[in-house]
């Protein structure tokens, strides 16, 4: 495989999304969970994931702010609900 082809592969939209997903997942699973409190790590992961994959430079300012707000709201809800359900309903000691 030539260098040009490799470069093309890494610039492809699908490759960027694939590597982005793997990098974020590894950052959350190995870098955050167990090192900082679980709700905080989950909030950071969900927020970053949604913002990174939904953010677009072409979007007008108001839309960008709305996307960031929704990502934040979603991250708070997901981390809060998952933490409470597993901690108090399933009695799991959170990592």
């Amino acid at each position: 495989m030539s260098g040009e082809k490799i470069g093309k592969f890494f610039r492809k939209d699908s490759s960027l999304r694939m590597f982005g997903t793997i990098a974020l997942a590894l950052f959350y699973a190995w870098g955050l969970v167990g090192r900082i409190p679980y709700p905080v790590s989950t909030f950071l992961f969900v927020f970053l994931f949604v913002v990174i994959f939904e953010y677009s430079r072409e979007d007008p300012g108001a839309r960008k702010r709305r996307k960031i707000f929704i990502a934040g709201l979603m991250a708070v809800l997901v981390s809060g609900i998952v933490s409470v359900v597993f901690r108090y309903l399933f009695l799991v000691k959170l990592p």
């Binding site: 999304r17 793997i22 997942a25 190995w30 969900v46 949604v50 998952v82 597993f86 799991v92």
Partner: protein, 507 residues
């Protein structure tokens, strides 16, 4: 008769508010999980196992079976509306379901598909009730050599059927699973193998985190990598099908139900192969084969009947032999072990009522699936419009906490991630992952039984081919292996031509 009474007893046990509530939410969740591309039945059951492991066994297994039946059915919804099967089991459904939706018959396609799934599930559960005790009683003749041979056969046939184009890839995947199962403390003398000094690895690789990785994390990467999906913009007309529209396919329904159950019962093969084989049979037997692939109700009903019939079929070897028929059934088996239910040949002696209780659970799930499948159709279509960028991080959060929750070990999260990456690479390279999962489950059975057999026979391997049942299994394994080899195929062709020549001459 005794079995029927035990089935009624099992059913009576679930005729209370909480059980019905559990059936409804778990089946509905299953339908949603099945609908969403990227969330599979296996992943749904694996994640629910982690949520239900503190519940009593009867409730937990009921919930998992509802998730299983619901998810296998739910996949048809996205197959029809998106042309993307929600679970691999619904790939054949998309062939005719989607053209029907494009032609404006989405409602009737969903209705016919749901009825096919319902009838298939009923046929599957009848076979489950009849054959589990028979196989269970027969399996009482199985000893260590037979179980060892059966484990090898399971991996080989699973490899054959899940990678029909290149079975070598299926076998490699299966044996990779067997090697993974060898990691950690072995079951007879507690000797630690392949742990390389790691305390975590000495406990072995747990099935649930590995499966959450293979069927969860790897799917997340695939979904994020692929193009966005477009839902067909179509008016959903009448969903509840007319009796005559279903009744005219009665032959296809019975044929597909039997094929689905039979293929489901073969270790590690699963609902997807069942649906494809049934679809092919239906096409060959059809009066209108030219309609297949262009919007044939017969094709749709053949695929949907078979994949749900396979659910019952996959549970037959789970209960009678403790060997799963498919990947979701493998998690179900693992969940049963977690809940101290011990399926296997002794189940018909130790707790025959559990077999019929399971039949009652499949029955409850089937009824729940049919009612929920025909209602809230328009509302549920909205679920398909949830963007993957918002759904996938939630799924990954559940994968992480699900892998962690059973043993509360961070190590399990690592296992989940590593197996997710392995599963993704395997899928990208066209290696089936189901044989690997089967290998992880069968590895322990294979290892323990081979060593036990060798202790009993004082190191002699001959009983493997001198004991009749074991010999039959060994011959089947060899036949499965050589049947895919070019020299065997050309030899069979020559024999066929030779026989034709003899027949012509004698005529």
């Amino acid at each position: 008769m005794n079995g029927f009474l035990m089935f009624l007893d099992g059913l009576k046990q679930y005729m209370n508010f909480w059980s019905i509530f559990n059936v409804l939410w778990a089946t509905q969740l299953g339908i949603i999980v099945g609908m969403l591309p990227g969330l599979t039945a296996t992943m749904g059951i694996a994640l629910l196992t982690t949520l239900t492991f503190k519940m009593p066994a009867a409730d937990a297994v009921l919930i998992l079976i509802c998730m299983y039946v619901g998810a296998i059915y739910g996949g048809s919804r996205s197959a029809i509306l998106l042309n993307i099967p929600g679970t691999p089991a619904n790939a054949a459904t998309a062939m005719d379901g989607h053209p029907l939706a494009r032609a404006g018959f989405a409602g009737s396609a969903i209705g016919i598909g749901t009825t096919g799934s319902f009838l298939g599930s009923i046929i599957g559960l009848i076979f489950l009730a009849v054959f589990t005790p028979l196989i269970g009683n027969f399996a009482l003749n199985f000893q260590s050599f037979e179980f060892f041979a059966l484990a090898i056969f399971g991996v080989v046939i699973s490899g054959n059927l899940t990678a029909p184009k290149d079975p070598l890839k299926g076998w490699i995947s299966g044996f990779l699973g067997l090697f993974v199962a060898m990691i950690g403390m072995e079951g007879i003398h507690a000797y630690v193998r392949f742990a390389f000094g790691s305390v975590d690895l000495s406990g072995g690789i747990d099935l649930i985190p590995a499966m959450v990785g293979v069927f969860g994390f790897s799917e997340i990467i695939s979904v994020m990598k692929n193009q966005k999906l477009e839902v067909v913009q179509t008016e959903i007309n009448r969903v509840i099908p007319k009796v005559k529209d279903v009744a005219k396919h009665w032959k296809t329904i019975i044929r597909s139900g039997v094929i689905g159950t039979f293929i489901g019962a073969i270790p590690g093969v699963g609902e997807d192969i069942a649906a494809w084989v049934s679809y092919d049979f239906a096409k060959n037997a059809s009066k209108e084969p030219e309609k297949y692939g262009k919007g044939s109700y017969e094709g749709l009903i053949s695929a949907e009947t078979a994949n749900n019939a396979a659910c019952g079929g996959t549970i037959i070897p789970v209960l009678s032999l403790a060997i799963p028929g498919s990947a979701p059934a493998a998690v179900l088996l693992a969940a049963m072990f977690i809940h101290n239910v011990r399926p296997g040949p002794l189940i018909m002696i130790e707790s025959p009522e559990f077999v019929y209780q399971t039949v009652a659970m499949v029955f409850m799930a089937t009824i729940g699936m049919y009612i929920l499948g025909l209602s809230m159709v328009k509302w549920l279509v909205k679920v398909l419009t949830v963007p993957r960028e918002k759904l996938m991080p939630i799924v990954f959060v559940l994968c992480v906490i699900g892998a962690y929750a059973i043993h509360s070990r961070i190590f399990e999260i690592g296992v989940m991630v590593v197996f997710g990456l392995i599963g993704f690479i395997m899928k990208e390279m066209d290696y089936p992952v189901a044989p690997m999962v089967l290998g992880i489950i069968l590895g322990d059975i294979l290892d323990k039984n081979l060593r036990r057999a060798l202790v009993l026979s004082e190191g002699d391997m001959l009983p493997l081919i001198t004991r009749p049942i074991s010999l039959v299994i060994v011959l089947l394994t060899v036949l499965t292996l050589v049947s895919k080899m070019p020299w065997f195929r050309s030899m069979m062709r020559r024999i066929k031509q030779g026989l034709k020549g003899i027949v012509k001459k004698s005529a």
